[in-house]
Amino acid sequence: MTDDATDTTGPDVPMVQLLTPAGERTTDPRWEPYRERAAHLDHGHVRDLWRDMVLVRAFDDEATSLQRQGQLGLWAQCLGQEAAQVGSGRALAPQDYVFPSYREHGVAHTRGVDLAEILRLFRGVDHGGWDGEAHRFHNYTLVIGSHTLHATGYAMGVQRDGVVGTGDPTVDTAVVTYFGDGATAQGDVNEALVFAAVNQAPLVLFCQNNQFAISETNERQFRVPVARRGEGFGVPGVRVDGNDVLASYAVTQEALERARSGGGPSLVEAFTFRMGAHTTSDDPTRYRTRELEQTWRDRDPIARVEAMLRREDGWDDAWAAQVREEAADLGARVRETVRSMPAPAAASMFDHVYATPHAILEDERAAFAEYESGFADGGAR
């Protein structure tokens, strides 16, 4: 796929690929180490990955519909990026900690987050939505790139806790932060690379290069491919076919192992394509062609896994039908859950601003309560 990649910013950067868009196993000897890392994934495992991606896409479709129906204020689709997210997410150990951006619904799924909870943020009933600590999956960060520094600091804490390089796979801990190609232009992402390198922090910087920062292409963000950006910071980088779930899994697993063993940070560039709009407020027809979109639909990350399983006699129609039914049920459940998410009480806006009482806030809370109580005798406002 390297040969027919549409990007112009990194055509000379080798891209790890284990599955072609047609679902054939690659034979390039350069990727043998990654092939070995994915070798234990039998057809059952691969079917599980397919199921993950199908569920995530069903959720994503449902959320898009809910926005169109006025149930959500906004939705950011991950359509087309399921392999990068599920593959990397399934390489994580339970103790690893994830700092996502805001499109990582596939990773959220692999961390056991109830996908409906993600929609609390987009419905406007909660700024977070799930218990980040419980899932070791932090809340979404909407300011581009800011969270990469939080991940770096968290990894510095992991280091200080002595849970790096012990050799115990249930103890050694890595931190992963997800961001996009646009974020690589942010100062914070560059500072995260500096701090991670200087401290040799157990961090994986996972960049999904979906080729569009809303409307702007890679040429407007950088002149050195993302995978090579790490070199100047002393952080090894690798480019992987982000539409190949097996390669995404193997490459992430290698970076995680480096981090957990004390080998320091890594930068992964998962080259993929945002098949949908930036968000439901965006109109991609203004800045890209239908031909380009079709090119990438032909590289669909889910279809290629099905093709591989069929090719290798690992496909099971009855099972696939069952998964599709499960996906439909998920969509229905998400729909019901979201529609029944009430707006919080107005006075809840004063909660959790501070951990200790703050006199100004408490004055305002009391004044607001008094104001509201003026309507208690049946008057509407």
Binding site: H150, H358, I360
Partner: protein
């Protein structure tokens, strides 16, 4: 890397009882004590380790507690605050130094959008007990960007506490309480007063047991909430904080020679503001002048004037006046004393208020 050990290099014992210290060293002592009392406390910033900080406020701490706990960071303010947020999420208590007031703005997003809002965004699940120490204010003959007073920019942001001590005793106590607080605290240090000496009441050292700190239960929050009357008086209330408190006290002393009795309220905190103390004072005196180095336009003084007008309307004998910086960038050092609210400008405002 292991830093949970509490073993330290052999150093001077901790002072006990009441001791006389310069303001800078009162701050050093508060950090040193926190580092000894809680293995999760970290000191981070540019040049805070080997050099001991450009003002030497962290002097000796790295030698005593090691490079993993007193951390020389890369020269990147956003990175300092951003990584501290991650460390705090992992259970650490970072005490950060931003080298100068004018260098804080590269970290503005991390402070106002990330640090201030994390507790809120996570419905209270995450506390970020981070202290950001900032030497601030003018009067030291510095080059540009080294003399600013950005407190109003941060006080305008919900989720932050913004405080500024005016003397060594408060500097010590307020920093101890700031480090103990589960909320993020912007701790503004009046760098022009770093070497003013005063008595400091040192809290007894409370060493951790089995690596767990025992001190926090005994540390209150009062100095982060409450103003103090630094000098009682009857004719007019001067409201000040940080480096302007010594100016206000000098103005009160000068006015006393002319038979005027000025009360000085040391706010200590600009977020929150202890309005009950201010209001009680102004209701008694009937007059109020607010003094700060920051520009008066949209400044802390404007907020105080509004609230005092609201709550003391029938007690006021004169409009609330403000004395502070002008709506200009901080000027060059050779004319900074015409910009700063010095003794003469404060007394001029006092005269105008009393003559109203």
């Amino acid at each position: 890397m292991t830093t949970t050990s509490t073993s330290r290099a052999q150093v001077a014992p901790f002072p006990t009882g009441t001791t006389t210290l310069p303001l800078a060293k009162a701050i050093t002592l508060a950090m040193r004590q926190a580092l000894a009392e809680d293995p999760k406390v970290l000191v981070m910033g540019e040049d805070v380790g080997r050099l001991g900080g450009v003002f030497r406020v962290t002097d000796g701490l790295q030698a005593e507690f090691g490079e993993d706990r007193v951390v020389d960071t890369p020269l990147a303010e956003s990175g300092i605050v951003g990584t501290a947020i991650g460390l705090a999420m992992r259970g650490y208590r970072p005490v950060l130094e931003i080298q100068f007031d004018g260098f804080i703005f590269p970290a503005f997003d991390q402070i106002t959008t990330q640090l201030a809002k994390m507790h809120y965004r996570t419905s209270g699940r995450i506390n970020l007990p981070i202290v950001i120490r900032v030497p601030y204010g003018g009067g030291i003959g510095a080059v540009e960007h080294h003399s600013e007073s950005p407190e109003a920019l941060f006080a305008h942001t919900a989720g932050l506490r913004v405080v500024s001590p005016s003397n060594p005793a408060d500097a010590y106590r307020m920093l101890r309480e700031a480090i103990a607080s589960p909320d993020p605290v912007l701790f503004l240090e009046p760098k022009g007063r770093y070497w003013d000496k005063g008595p400091v009441e040192v809290a007894p050292l409370s060493l951790p047991v089995d690596g767990a700190p025992t001190a926090y239960a005994g540390i209150g929050h009062e100095s982060l909430d409450r103003a103090v009357v630094a000098r009682p008086g009857t004719d007019l209330t001067l409201v000040a904080y940080g480096p302007s408190v010594p100016v206000a006290l000098a103005a009160a002393a000068a006015a006393a020679e002319e038979g005027r009795s000025l009360e000085v309220v040391d706010l200590r905190t600009v977020s929150p503001v202890d309005f009950p103390t201010v209001v009680a004072s102004v209701r008694r005196t009937g007059r109020c002048v607010v003094v700060h180095e920051a520009p008066v336009f949209h400044g802390v003084g404007a907020e105080i004037a509004a609230r005092v007008t609201e709550e003391c309307f029938y007690s006021l004998e004169a409009p609330v006046l403000r004395v502070g910086g002008f709506h200009t960038p901080y000027p060059v050092a050779k004319i900074e004393h015409d910009y700063l609210p010095g003794l003469d400008r404060v007394l001029d405002a006092v005269d105008r208020s009393l003559a109203f």
